[in-house]
Symmetry: C2
């Protein structure tokens, strides 16, 4: 009886630890999502102060990454979980790497915003990437939501949107090259837009990685390196 009570106590502690880790991941997710949205805003409005704020938040994200990472390893060492709990912990270690990289990409956009402010303000710089911004924002938001609810329902639609993001990105690059050729004075500015588009495209990739982690946690299937169609098949299986 005592053993059983102590078993229940440990299991309760374990549940608490897992819940605590998951909540921290959601906090980190919310943070990098905000970083990304603010980075884009600072780029559009050439808001240098906002851009500086985003760069300062980077440390917070890095600290959270280290903290969650350590806690996952500690729980694995102490509780020796198996099956879905182990999958969850290993996946979280990967999820936070993707989140941290999204924060890095947001930082890159913020740095571009600071540089843009130093040159002349160019009101049209949003135009080229506006569609891409909206697509990537929704992908990131939906993939964080899929993680929060541990639900694979929306995942096929998210990874399909990534293929659209890639097409949009390629089309932006083509437009930027044309504009550079038309007027070489545009080159520096167009390159900043190009790096921003690139950062957004990468954030889309990380959002897809998040989705793959969710599928692995929920189903135990490793769906990396599949295209959107193959992935959809795996989820329906």
């Amino acid at each position: 009886m005592e053993n059983r009570a102590s078993g229940q106590h440990i299991s309760h502690l374990f549940d608490e630890e897992m819940e605590n880790i998951r909540n921290k991941v959601l906090t980190m997710g919310g943070l990098v999502q905000k970083q990304m949205e603010q980075a884009v805003k600072s780029f559009i409005t050439s808001d240098q102060d906002l851009a500086e704020k985003i760069l300062q938040q980077d440390e917070l994200v890095n600290d959270l990454e280290k903290e969650i990472d350590h806690e996952c390893i500690e729980v694995i060492a102490k509780r020796q979980p198996t099956a879905i709990d182990l999958r969850m912990l290993i996946s979280i270690i990967k999820v936070i790497t993707d989140l941290e990289r999204i924060g890095d990409e947001a930082g890159r956009i913020a740095k571009m915003a600071i540089r843009l402010d130093a040159t002349d303000y160019y009101h049209d710089q949003y135009h080229e990437v506006s569609h891409l911004v909206e697509m990537v924002k929704s992908m990131l938001s939906d993939s964080l939501d899929a993680f929060a609810r541990m639900n694979t329902e929306s995942i096929a639609s998210i990874t399909k949107r990534d293929e659209k993001v890639d097409r949009e990105y390629t089309s932006i690059i083509r437009q930027l090259i044309t504009r550079m050729m038309e007027d070489p004075r545009n080159i520096t500015r167009m390159l900043d837009v190009l790096w921003t588009a690139r950062a957004l495209e990468r954030i889309g990739d990380h959002a897809c990685n998040l989705c793959e982690h969710v599928v692995y946690i929920v189903q135990g299937d490793d769906v990396r390196h599949l295209n959107a169609e193959e992935l959809e098949q795996k989820i329906q299986d």
Copy 2:
């Protein structure tokens, strides 16, 4: 006596499993190193066949990543390792993500080589990135070596070289912009050189990540997000 023998048997099996996983990581490391070197070669010599070969190897790298990942998780679930063994397994899961991304960057360079071949061959394209190539090659080779020998001695020197890589990269971008402005007909080709420089710079970052994983395995210290000087301090500690 029987228990002890069976304990020794399990421990022997465990050692074998760990050795097997480490060997696969080294194979994967050798593979992406070769991919990177061949990608650069295909870019310099506009060798489309070689570039195609590199892209085909990508699947091999992806398969190895999945295989090693599954084996690590299986060993954690089955053997419930602690301390350095658990650190090793968790770190290997991260190491192979970095290796796979190095393979991706090599693939990006190879794609550029295919595109260059389709346009006019431009014998001078190596000139701009030649120094960067040598620096990143040596960083990757030395960091794989540090992992193979589980030795932190050369790590401070590798991460210091990454700061040089970043400076070299910035200087290349500046030169490329000047050449684009001088003659807008250069723009497309210069952008290919720019993406290649970017891919090399990223490979340098992944080599640094490998180093950080080695420090974590050997010392148990999380040295992510430190600059080269802080890292050196940590290793000396």
